[in-house]
Amino acid sequence: MKYDIVLAGVGGQGVLSLSAIIASSAMREGLEVKQSEVHGMAQRGGAVLAHLRLSDKRIHSDLIPKGTAQMILSMELLEALRYLDFLSPGARVVTAQNPFINIPDYPELDQLISVVKGLPGAIIVDAEKMAKEAGSVRATNMVMVGAASSFLPVKRETLLALIEETFARKGEKVVEINKKAFEAGRG
């Protein structure tokens, strides 16, 4: 078994903390994990890409070979489209519906949504709204963990446990909001 996820978003959107929850959960379940991140210049409001690889065997490459990923998990609508060549046939694209507009030539939203909807296996999540309903827009990335969770080779309980541990030092309320956000995303 191997499960490769391309994580996409814009610098500052919490892509790495999203990745960390899934990675730690997979490790808790005894899987091998590699997570390749982007630091430095690219983080300044630019497109960010992380590779998360889960397997029950040894993982050699830190980078996912193109044509082999099972999922693109994106915090941002446009960024969901940037790395499609990494996907294997039959893979999933799970993306937040919300645009992050910091470039002058950002596409028309309706057009963008229809392109994403046209992808086989696409799931578009109204993540910011769900996070707000759960109690904080800052939990948007946990909505996305929830949205991805039913496809991941990791149990729901393990993900929830890791969310609890990760946010514990911020208090019970923050933990509850993030767990709620996760459940909302899981649907």
Binding site: M27, V33, M41, R44, G46, A47
Partner: protein, 531 residues
């Protein structure tokens, strides 16, 4: 045995801690920064080792040499181009007789994710005639760093640890052993081995050359260099180095082909092992991230019967980083099928200055101040503010190396160009711009220097600058800049017109002027508020 999830950089840091380092020095630079960031967090909890950001890579290196001279172990880390700055102590530290283990971690950036070139540090190690170790994964990053300190003391040379971006910034589980204690203080009995007067240096140099055979013997025996011959003679051979191994194994594991494989993690290259592979194979592929360093060595200049395939032969692209795809294509396999490409033009999303960044206010004010001149030159430097070269600002016209904005402006003004403005960040100024300003002050160069004082090293994640903002003006005046023409402005949207007027006035002044544009980085301020 314990386990930790670590970035490649962090595995180096833990390796150094467990090797018993007493001190670590660095100047921030992607992709090496996280080594020192990790050590700072570690030392805050455990009380040691001593960890510090230095003014630049040269001072960092020299501080580490001092630690070594008195018998203790030191790690010095930098990005690849930082080694250019530290090249003087680096080259000469090879000649002295290293006392406490000295390891220099140099993090290369093939593909230039966050750098101005993709120079390959392995050439530096060979240039200095010292061994180099190149980990393939996070576990090796830990093990090799530990081994490098022992190696350094055993052979009394500095050891280079070469990293690349994809290892530095990738996370995996690392198995850790028990740590080793620090060395006791022990000054060398014979100071001539550290005093490179020509008579001593000749002796030391010969001594280093005499040890080359020992380095080679270590390369032949170390378990970091592994040779695995398979099948009949005349088959396919592969040489990998560093993370090239991972991409090769990934691709080879998905095929039925068998390859004889030599992995090189320690340099000088193991000659006997290479010869053994060459005797067994008729074709050798080279997968190394960076320059075709081993490939060129193998190829030499004269015709040969063996078919060597790599970057020089055109089997891999000559530039950029290695990837599974590049290795796959080189080995002759077709690309894997991926979904139909979409018929939709994706706009790019380059990095950009944060909304409300003080640099953007300075750039707006500067552009207004330069309006109306028939020609202008604005040199600049390395940091977040380099993004001012991109739209919508398009405010700067150069970015070459740390501090060059200042010295290039000195040159351009001497050539007769006017107006010339140099724009440099506070940390870059203190790193290497301050020497250029001495030249400018001595000659009263007809130029204006703008120091962007955001009170942090922004691009690498907000490390403290070596001098606080409050001492920057004193430093500038101490060099001899006319106090009448050293202005401190608060760079802010609300002051833009006034600031533009001040900048214009100083640009029109025939002589050297310095403007310090002050306002704290938004990210640093946000972080400070959080803590």
């Amino acid at each position: 045995m314990t386990e930790m999830v670590l970035l490649g950089d962090e595995a180096v840091a833990m390796g150094a801690v467990h090797a018993g380092i007493s001190a670590a020095y660095a100047y921030p630079g992607t992709p090496s920064t996280e080594i020192t960031e990790f050590l700072i967090r570690y030392a805050a909890k455990k009380g040691k080792p001593y960890v510090a950001w230095s003014a630049n890579e040269k001072t960092a290196y020299e501080e580490a040499m001092g630690v070594s001279m008195v018998g203790k172990r030191a790690l010095v880390s930098m990005k690849h181009v930082g080694l250019n700055v530290a090249a003087d102590p680096f080259m000469n530290s090879a000649i002295v007789t290293i006392n406490g283990g000295l390891v220099v971690a140099s993090a290369d950036d093939p593909g230039m994710h966050s750098s101005q070139n993709e120079q390959d540090s392995r050439y530096y190690a060979e240039f200095a005639r010292i061994p180099c170790m190149e980990p393939a994964d996070q576990q090796q990053a830990y093990l090799m760093t530990r081994a490098a300190f022992d190696y350094s003391e055993r052979f009394k040379v500095p050891i280079m640890l070469r990293l690349v971006t994809r290892l530095a910034h990738s996370r995996a589980v690392v198995q850790l052993d028990q740590g080793r204690d620090e060395n006791p203080l022990a000054k060398p009995g014979d100071p001539t081995s550290w005093t490179l007067l020509p008579a001593n240096a000749r002796k030391q140099w010969r001594n280093l050359l005499n040890r080359q055979k020992d380095f080679l013997a270590y390369s032949e025996e170390t378990e970091f260099n592994t040779l695995n011959l398979v099948g009949e003679k005349g088959g396919i051979g592969v040489i990998t180095s560093g993370i090239g191994r991972n991409y090769f194994l990934e691709i080879a594991g998905s095929t039925d082909c068998s390859y004889s494989h030599l992995h090189i993690g320690v340099y000088p290259v193991p000659v006997q092992k290479i010869r053994a592979l060459a005797a067994h194979a008729s074709v050798i592929y080279l997968f190394e991230d960076g320059y075709p360093y081993i490939e060129r060595m193998l190829k030499g200049l004269l015709p040969q019967s063996i078919d060597i395939r790599g970057k020089e032969s055109g089997h891999l692209p000559p530039d950029g980083e290695l990837s599974p795809e590049v290795v796959r294509a080189a080995l002759g396999f077709e690309a894997l099928p991926s979904p139909e490409p979409i018929q939709f033009k994706l706009p790019t999303r380059p990095p950009q200055l944060c909304k409300g960044c003080p640099h953007s206010d300075t750039y707006e004010a500067l552009k207004a101040a330069l309006a109306g001149f028939s020609q202008t030159l604005t040199t600049s430097d390395i940091g977040c503010y380099t993004l001012g070269a991109l739209p919508p600002y398009k405010a700067i016209e150069s970015c070459v190396c740390m501090g060059a904005s200042v010295s290039m402006a000195v040159g351009a003004s001497a050539a007769g160009f006017h107006p010339v403005v140099a724009v440099v960040g506070d940390s870059t100024f203190l790193h290497s711009g301050v020497t250029g300003l001495m030249d400018a002050a001595t000659r009263n160069a007809n130029m204006t220097l703008i120091i962007l004082d955001n009170q942090t090293v922004g691009m690498t994640g907000g490390q403290p600058t070596i001098l606080p903002s409050s001492r920057l003006k004193q430093a500038v005046l101490g060099i001899g800049v006319d106090p009448e023409h050293c202005q401190v402005i608060e760079t802010h949207r609300k002051n833009r017109e006034e600031n533009s007027r001040i900048i214009r006035k100083e640009i029109e002044y025939q002589g050297l002027s310095v403007i310090i544009a002050v306002r704290e980085c938004l990210e640093t301020a946000k972080k400070a508020k959080k803590n």
